[in-house]
């Protein structure tokens, strides 16, 4: 059947099951926006292409499905580089379609030409410049296949204008839809393996059965593999304590007795110390990121390592595993469960009561803590805002955060009891992530309440997407923790640069966040004291016809604890000032 490349592109997206595109048109992609009018695919018109990319990511985080962004050439393509890199670092399945100047103009420095494929090569799992209209369906099928299989990631498809422009004979083609077999055959170098090696799995089971101080080190791969249930079954079968990294919050319920919470630079004392003292780390879909390990030569010195990852390159990249298993987390955990059961299951586990006692001792002595204020005593404590937000919102609320202190407090104080409720920028640490990501999550999960927890600095980077949310009636809720500072940087300057503050002050009221939010079509409130917190949250929870923004004026002096200073080992973790004397006492005793 005769068709043009632009129609083929839209049809291919429909065939892939795409329901929503996040994008913004321009010259090179214009011919694709025309057939879009006749398509059932919803298009969310963003105000900046970075927003489109993070929305696609938020959509993918919340739904597990591919997020799709479509933008034009040149500056639009460069605007979406940050989200591509973000998705690459956090293994987010995403497809990005960019317009390109006509084939004949490529290489001539044409208007709005840039080497999109060259620029994005190192921040995508794969990218491709399509040169013929008839290749479009295959390119789209490959993109979705690559983005979602193996270790997920972003794939970019660059489409020159001439092959989609009905006015150009080069856009004429016959429609066809490649079969799965044809797609696989077209990628001779791409064979992701999902099944773990049974010999290694059995070795892992034997290590577990011998370990008296085990810890499961669960990473984002658990969520990517939809393995949260399998993880829980494993932990419960063998009574194994679990830490969940920043990327894995929600993969194991925080209210589960085996959950130790988040490890790493701003993890809690028990999670950090349990990993340090463990005799076995069972790393599932985690990658020994420097923010988790701290100084590497001091990390978990006596632990044997079982490392499960779908990406073979992660095994041994940072820490040499004793048992390395390449495979999809869910399938490997399920096989591991069978292997453990065959070896006697829970009855075969050694006595770990001493370890359990040690863990509960740490938990009791060093819980997350902060000093709260009475009403009217000054600016609100950010941790308090998060505790109240958590209490006053449904258990399955999706929360997206920016990057900075507020992100760490959210990860610490939000109690995650469901997978896919935490949307954040872990690997790249992209300020400005939360608002567009929350919008994408809400588009994917309109049935859920979605809160963005943002910093005042972050808010100023992508706030314009609240216009998108208002225009498209995507009722997200935003809490700005306004400490008038680039707080995380301020914390480092306070602690490690002798309180010499360099370029971190932002001002509490420039801009006026309430007016700004209102100007963007949102409901808006300002909270300046502790006793106003609950009422504002409850009011926001009741607003569903538009986005709502609450600006909380928070205490700028508040710091995130615990903290493992950069370059230090995890055994040097600093706890909240109120706990430091006790920690010093314990350390002196060598406990």
């Amino acid at each position: 059947m005769g068709i043009n490349g632009g129609q083929a592109l839209i049809r291919a997206l429909e065939r892939e099951g795409v329901e929503v595109l996040f994008g913004l048109p321009g010259g090179a992609i214009l011919p694709v926006y025309d057939p879009l009018i006749d398509s059932p695919i919803r298009h969310v018109l963003v105000r900046h292409e970075q927003g489109a990319g993070h929305m696609a990511e938020g959509f993918a985080h919340a739904t597990g499905r591919v997020g799709v962004a479509m933008v034009t050439s040149g500056p639009a393509a460069t605007n979406i580089v940050t989200p591509l890199c973000d998705a690459y670092m956090d293994s987010v399945p995403m497809v990005c379609i960019t317009g390109q100047v006509p084939s004949t103009a490529i290489g001539t420095d044409a208007f709005q030409e840039c080497d999109t494929v060259g620029i994005t090569r190192s921040v995508t799992k794969h990218n491709e410049l399509v040169t013929r209209a008839e290749d479009i369906p295959m390119a789209i099928r490959q993109a979705f296949y690559i983005a979602t299989t193996g270790r997920p990631g972003p794939v970019l498809v660059d489409i020159p204008k001439d092959i989609v422009d009905p006015a150009n004979p080069r856009s004429a083609m016959d429609w066809y839809w490649p079969t799965d077999a044809e797609v696989e055959a077209s990628l001779p170098g791409y064979k992701p393996s999902t099944q773990g090696d049974p010999v290694r799995i059995r070795e892992a089971a034997e290590l577990i059965n011998r370990s008296v101080k085990p810890v499961i080190y669960a990473g984002g791969g658990i969520l990517k593999a939809r393995a949260a249930e399998a993880l829980r079954a494993l932990a419960e079968l063998c009574d194994l304590p679990v830490v969940t990294t920043l990327m894995a919050r929600g993969a194991f319920p925080d209210d589960h007795p085996l959950c130790l919470g988040m490890p790493g630079m701003h993890g809690n004392y028990t999670a950090i110390t349990a990993m340090q003292e463990a005799d076995l780390l069972i790393a599932l879909g985690s990658r020994f990121d420097d923010r988790v390990t701290g100084r590497l030569d001091g990390f978990a010195p006596s632990a044997k390592i079982i490392h499960v990852d779908i990406d073979p390159a992660e095994l041994g990249k940072v820490r040499r595993p004793d048992v390395a298993i390449v495979g999809d987390c869910r399938s490997v955990i399920e096989d591991l469960l069978s292997a453990l059961q065959a070896l006697g299951g829970s009855a075969a586990q050694p006595d770990r009561s001493a370890w359990k006692q040690q863990l509960s001792g740490w938990r009791e002595k060093f819980p997350l803590t902060y000093e709260n204020l009475e009403a009217g005593e000054g600016h609100v404590k950010p941790q308090f805002v998060l505790e109240r937000l958590r209490s006053l919102t449904p258990s399955d609320t999706i929360v997206a955060s920016g990057v900075g202190q507020h992100q760490m407090w959210t990860s610490q104080y939000w109690k995650f009891n469901h997978p896919y409720t935490w949307v954040n920028s872990g690997g790249l640490g992209t300020m400005g992530f939360s608002i567009p990501a929350a919008i994408g999550a809400k588009v994917g999960r309109p049935d859920r309440m979605v809160w963005a927890i943002d910093g005042d600095g972050c808010f100023q980077m992508t706030a314009q997407e609240l216009v998108t949310a208002s225009a498209e009636r995507i009722p997200i809720k935003v809490a700005i923790l306004n400490n008038a500072y680039l707080g995380m940087v301020r914390q480092w300057q306070e602690m490690f640069y002798d309180e010499r503050y360099s370029e971190v002050y932002l001002s509490p009221d420039l801009p006026d966040y309430v007016k700004w939010a209102e100007a963007m079509g949102c409901a808006a409130m300002r909270v300046e004291s502790t006793d106003e917190v609950d009422a504002a949250i409850e009011k926001a929870n009741g607003i569903n016809d538009r986005p709502v923004v609450i600006e909380f004026r928070t205490d700028a002096r508040e710091k995130v604890f615990p903290m493992v200073p950069a370059g230090k080992g995890n055994s040097e973790v600093m706890v909240d000032p109120s706990q430091q004397a006790e920690l010093a006492r314990i350390r002196a005793l060598g406990l």
Binding site: R121, S122, K125, G189, Y190, A313, G316
Partner: protein, 172 residues
Amino acid sequence: MHSYHTLVVLVENKPGVLARVAGLFARRGFNIHSLAVAPTEDERISRITIVADTESAPVEQIVKQLDKLINVVRIDELAPRDSVEQELLMASVQASVGERSKVLELCQIFSAKVLDTGTQEMMVRLAGSPAKLDDFEQLLRPLGISAIQRTGRVALPRLDHGSSGASLRSVS
């Protein structure tokens, strides 16, 4: 040259694939000592022979990262003792009429070939092991080299002599 491994990488013969491979080395801080690209018997596939510096990164990590490139079809790793390596050298050397015999003598010893003879210079070619080329280059140098080109090595696995095991380790 310090520690190195030769990687024979079969890639899809498509635009930009060499840039992907080279870009990966640059981005991950792996060093390339030499690189040679050529088509294979199968027109859909090209062969990239990379001599990788394994001091800058463990060879295992280099191979695994390369293997993640969608267009990389197969990687074979050749440890130096398991492979036969060859390289080509061309050089223009100062050789006025009276001095040609010095060049000719070296060519004879090394079985190099004279490709061109000018009034003041001679152009020579030598194919062989990289070490042999190093020696040849060393001895030509005092005569005055005005231009020199080396191709970078290509390699194939050493053949089975009936004694030791397989010489080629397929890693993907």
